[in-house]
Amino acid sequence: MSLLDLLMGVLLLLTGFLAVRLKNAVHAALALAANFVLVGVVYMLLEARFLGWIQIIVYAGAIMVLFVFVIMLLYAAQAEVGADPLPALRPVAAGVGAVGFLALAFAFSGAKAPLASKAAAAALAGGTAHALGPVVWQTWLYAVLLVAALLLVATVAAVTVLRPGEGGGR
């Protein structure tokens, strides 16, 4: 583990914490965008270069812009609105999170990598589009087609739900 890894880990946890704790929704969205960019950088450090760029373009770009758009559109840029009906929920949520972290860490602790680090890095070939393409378009072709169909259905559903003049729309 290098100093860069340590820095990345600290920044990831910091931005993640800010994203779930900040009162202003716009600030939380920006912290989450920073978290997504950092995750993209970590992907590149882990020999997944194509995935790193996709992460930055799709997550930090498209998805976060959607979030910021909706936050601005709905004037809902506050995390605290009115009285909290369940004030005791916050420590319970923190406890659930801590238990989840411990369970995941315990589950991960049993993992043993079958290859030496150098051999695994060589097998990934840098995780470029050139290396990843044959896997995606041959082994996972049907999954890609299913996801494509799902994206189309999701787009149609989003447009239909928000169509004005029918149902609940105005």
Partner: protein, 98 residues
Amino acid sequence: MNFFYLLVSAALFALGAYGVLARRSAILVLMSVELMLNAANLALVVFARAWGSLEAQAVALLLIALAAAEVAVGLALVVAIYRTRETTLVDDLSELKG
């Protein structure tokens, strides 16, 4: 085996779970869900690096596309609910409780 990033991924997942439970606005709950999805993706990429498997990276790529679909539908529902109910607070949307 990069155990450090696995721990970071577990911590990010836990932070997302906390956010889902503690946030009251539906938009911020959705953002916390994104944090959890992202943590799972990070774990996949760490395992891909340890196993030297490009298949895990392909699955991570598909997961990013799935997350985009999920956000599109989720935010459309939030906007639709806001249009009829003038609220995005999850506590105000309790008509379906048993």
